[in-house]
Every structure is written in C-alpha cells, then in structure tokens.
C-alpha cells in the first residue's frame, strides 16, 4: 500500500513539477508561429528526459551515488570540472529566468514591475530552502504545481483537430522562417532536457535513501511522470496554436503569454495562468538552486543534505544562499526575462553532451551498476540521444545568431 502511495506521489510530483519558465515560453512561441508543427520536439525532448531520469535514478538506487558523485569518481577532477563549470553557469542563468517568471506573474497580478519582485522572490525561495526539508521542497511546490493541469483542460475545451495534432508529432521541415523554426526546436529540447533535472532527481533518490527495491518506482516515475509532464507542454503549444496563431500574436513580450487562457476560460483563465506560471517557476527556482548546491558539494566531497539543519552543512547552505540571492539580483537590475529565458534554453541545449555522453560509461560500468547496467535498448536510445545532443551543440551558435531575435 505504501509502495503504491509512494509511486503515485512520485508520478504526481513529476507532473506538477514539469513545467517551468522555459518549457512554457518555448511552447507558447512554437504554437504562436508554427501551429502544431513543432509538437515533435516536445515529444523528442520528453523521451530524452525520460531516458536520463530513469538512468540517473537507477544509478542512485543501485549505488547510492548521484550523477555528480559518479562523474567525479569515474572520470576524475580534470574531466568533472567541465560539466561542473558549464552546469553551474547554465543553471545560474536558468535560475535567474525562473525567478523572472515568478516576478512577471506577480507583475501581471499587481502592476508592480518585476524588478521589484525579484529579490523578494529570491528571498522567499531561500527561506523555503533554509527552513524546509527535501520533502517540502520537492513535493510541496509540485503538488501546488498541479494547477498547471489547467492547460490540458483549456486545450481540450478548444477541440483541436486531433488529426493535425498527431501530424505535428512527426518531424517536418518548416515552410517559412526556417531559422526561427530550428531555433525554437533547439530551445524546446533545452527546456525539456535540463541537466539540473536529473542532477536534482538522482540527489533526491539519495536523500530519500533509495535502494534496489525502488527500481520499479523509478521506472514508473520516469515513464509515466515524464509522459504526463510532456502532455502539459504539448497542451501549452496547442493552446498557443489555436489562440495566438489565428490572431497573429507572436510572443515577443512575456506579458503576451498572459493572454493565452482568457479567450478560453475568461478572467479565471487569466488568474489560473498567473498561478501556473508563478508556482511552476517558483518550484523550479528552489529545485535549480538545490541542484547547483548538490553539484558543487558532491564534486568536492562536502557533506550535503536538504534534510539536515543549515549549520550542519555550512558550505552547502552557504552555496544555495549566495546562488539564489545573486540570481535574484540579476533579475532586479532589469535584464529582460523573456530574452534571458530564450538564451538560457539555447545554452542548456548546447551544454547537454558533457553530461549525456559520460552516462554511457557510467551505466555500462559493471563495477558500478553490476547487473543493473544498461541493456541494448537503453544503450541504443542513449546513443541516439548523444548524437542528437552533438547536433544540437553544433547548431546552437549559428541558430542563436540567425534565429535569436
């Protein structure tokens, strides 16, 4: 009974925690300009994330090591420094854009500029990390995040043409604005497969003391949780395709995204959009901050745990404190949240090879994962994903220059 409850909670949290600033904004932009045509990128990104979440969870359950631990232990400091530095840099920008997302939701609700909200939001996130424990951070905001299901409700109310929706799941070349099309495609991949997600997930498995009996929970959470999560992103894209595309609204300001739900659900739609954006981004804010502190602490062998009192792990708690406040400061000086979100999704996509490719070695190391090492299917899928991440890396710079604005 407890197992079923844990399983349900795990799946529900991954659904409620799936959407964040990047996935919402990129899906809205995709639908507004290209209709259903880019749905396949959400499917592809979600499959990639599913794969990495399952493997990093399996690694943690079998060995008690997080992805960060295993990367340093297997490849040494001279390699680990690369995913560490790129990971921290990219996550920091994503973190700032999540704080921007919450601040903009508050701006739309109150009329007070997001710049004024940035530091209070960062402080609230810090307070939650300081006083709360891992369960509160992970489950609390994810359960509230279930409000994002409103996107599925709205998409269904619009009665999309399912034939055309399923056609969008197959990759096609664009018939106009090719640079913009591929730019958004790569951003969606970055928004779906964020390294902080599986760093956080594998650390969470260690915080919760997972063992080999949790492998089935891990698989179910990865497959079901991520699929339903992907459905939420797809729903956002579908609504944008039906609400923005016919009206010719191309989202170049964050506030325009607030017009997504009112045509379907009226004023309640506006309120629910703000709640969804605010809660989803706030949840991501706390998770990314923790993921960054985890990555640093694991890399250098500090004690770390969100379940311990802050003073028990002084360097770990100082890391998340400084990180979240600095990221708040970036937003407070008035960087455009939409541009930062787009840019950081692109950077996330470009950073994928340094963590995805080493997973091959980790998940096939018999000394590490023993009988739970990858079978041919996982290896083939991871291989395909690695090739995809390299293609994405190579195309990221030209696309940023051509399709970025």
């Amino acid at each position: 009974m407890k197992r079923i409850l844990d399983l349900t909670l795990g799946i529900v949290t991954s659904i409620g925690g799936f959407l964040e600033a990047g996935s919402i904004i990129t899906a809205v932009q995709a639908g507004a300009v290209f209709g259903y045509k880019l749905l396949w990128t959400i499917a592809l990104g979600t499959l990639g994330l599913m794969l990495l979440v399952e493997q990093s969870g399996r690694l943690a359950a079998v060995t008690g090591r997080t992805v960060g631990d295993a990367l340093r232990e297997r490849f040494g400091i001279s390699f680990y420094i690369i995913p560490l530095v790129t990971g921290l840099l990219v996550s920091f920008l994503v973190l700032a854009s999540e704080i921007g997302g919450v601040s903009l939701a508050l701006q739309m609700a109150t009329g007070i500029s997001f710049q004024w909200w940035a530091m209070p939001v960062a402080f609230a996130g810090w307070f939650l990390l300081w006083k709360g424990n891992f369960g509160i951070v992970e489950k609390g905001s994810s359960l509230l995040g279930l409000v994002t299901i409103v996107f599925v409700v709205a998409a269904l109310k619009l009665h999309p043409d399912w034939g055309r929706v399923s056609a969008g799941l197959l990759p096609t070349a664009p018939d106009h604005d090719a640079a913009r099309y591929w730019y958004i495609a790569v951003s969606i991949i970055g928004a779906s497969i964020s390294p902080y997600l599986y760093m956080f997930y594998s650390s969470g498995a260690v915080e919760d003391g997972w063992g080999t009996d949790d492998l089935s929970t891990n698989k179910a959470t990865a497959v079901l949780g991520m699929s339903f999560g992907g459905v939420l992103s797809a729903a956002v894209l579908i609504i944008a395709a039906l609400v923005f595309l016919p009206r010719g609204i191309q989202v170049d300001r964050y506030e325009q995204a607030g017009l997504l739900l009112p045509p379907v659900l009226g004023h309640t739609g506006f309120v629910l959009f703000l709640a969804s954006l605010g809660i989803a981004c706030f949840g991501a804010t706390t998770e990314i901050t923790l993921a960054m502190a985890y990555q640093l602490a694991q890399g250098f062998g500090w004690d770390w745990s969100e379940n311990a009192k802050p003073k028990q792990n002084a360097r770990f708690s100082l890391t998340y404190t400084v990180t979240i406040l600095l990221a708040g400061l970036v937003m407070a000086v008035g960087i455009d949240p939409l541009e930062l979100t787009n840019f950081s999704m692109m950077l996330t996509a470009a950073s994928l090879p340094v963590t995805v490719i080493p997973m091959f070695v980790l998940m096939n190391d018999e000394a590490l994962v023993g009988e739970h090492r990858n079978r041919w299917f996982s290896n083939a899928a991871l291989g395909a994903l690695s090739i995809l991440t390299i293609v994405v890396l190579l195309s990221a710079v030209p696309l940023q220059l051509l399709g970025g604005s």
Partner: protein, 120 residues
C-alpha cells in the same frame, strides 16, 4: 589486497570516523625507494592538490590563484595510507576530520556566517 589507484582511490569521498564527509582524494603520494618498488604512502585533500591535476593553463592559473590568496584554498590535508580503509566507492580514515585543514572552511563558515543567520 589489490588497490587500483585511479579506479579505487583517486577522487573517492573520504569519510572520517564520525562518518563525516571530509573531502575527496584529490591526490596520491608515492614514496620512491632506492632498489625497491615505489609504494603509495599517503593521499591528500586540498584545493591546491586538485588544481594542480587540472594541468595546462587553467591548472597553472588555479594554482597561482591559490598561492596568491592562501585563504582561498584550504591547506593540504595528508593521510598516511596505513590509516586507510577503502571499499572502492568510499575511503575511510581512522581519525576525527574536524580539526584538519580539509574542514577548516566548513568550520569557519559555520561559526562566523551560517550560525549567525536566524533559523540555522
């Protein structure tokens, strides 16, 4: 017992007798003996030790940074191999890690920064 230095020792987490993480094995010390095979005599923990391993320009830069501001990198903590037990995943030492330079920053921050913030 056979120990593979890179696979079983280097970069592993070091635990003290109180099961505290005190760092990672950042470097290994070999003792060269005339007329006999070298032995692994100790391992080290410290920013300067791993920075040297980065090699190249970044490594030199990191080492120089540590030399310029010694307060940045901890001092080096050295453990003799005879006090060590290793599982191949973690390395345990038979001593209290708290007074070692490896935890100097942790202790200083706890006392002077973190404990002063309400709710710590």
């Amino acid at each position: 017992m056979e120990l593979r230095i890179v696979h079983d020792l280097l970069d592993k987490v070091v635990l003290d007798e109180g099961r505290r993480n005190i760092g990672r094995v950042d470097g290994v010390v070999l003792e060269l003996r005339r007329g006999a095979a070298p032995v692994v005599s100790a391992f080290e923990i410290g920013g300067r030790v791993w920075a040297r391993r980065l090699g190249g320009r970044i490594g030199r830069w990191a080492v120089a940074l540590g030399a310029r501001w010694p307060a940045l990198g901890n001092g080096v903590t050295r453990f003799a191999m005879r006090d060590v037990r290793t599982t191949g995943i973690t390395v345990s030492v038979k001593c209290d890690g708290r007074p070692t330079p490896a935890l100097a920053w942790e202790n200083w921050l706890r006392e002077h920064v973190i404990s002063r913030i309400p709710g710590a």
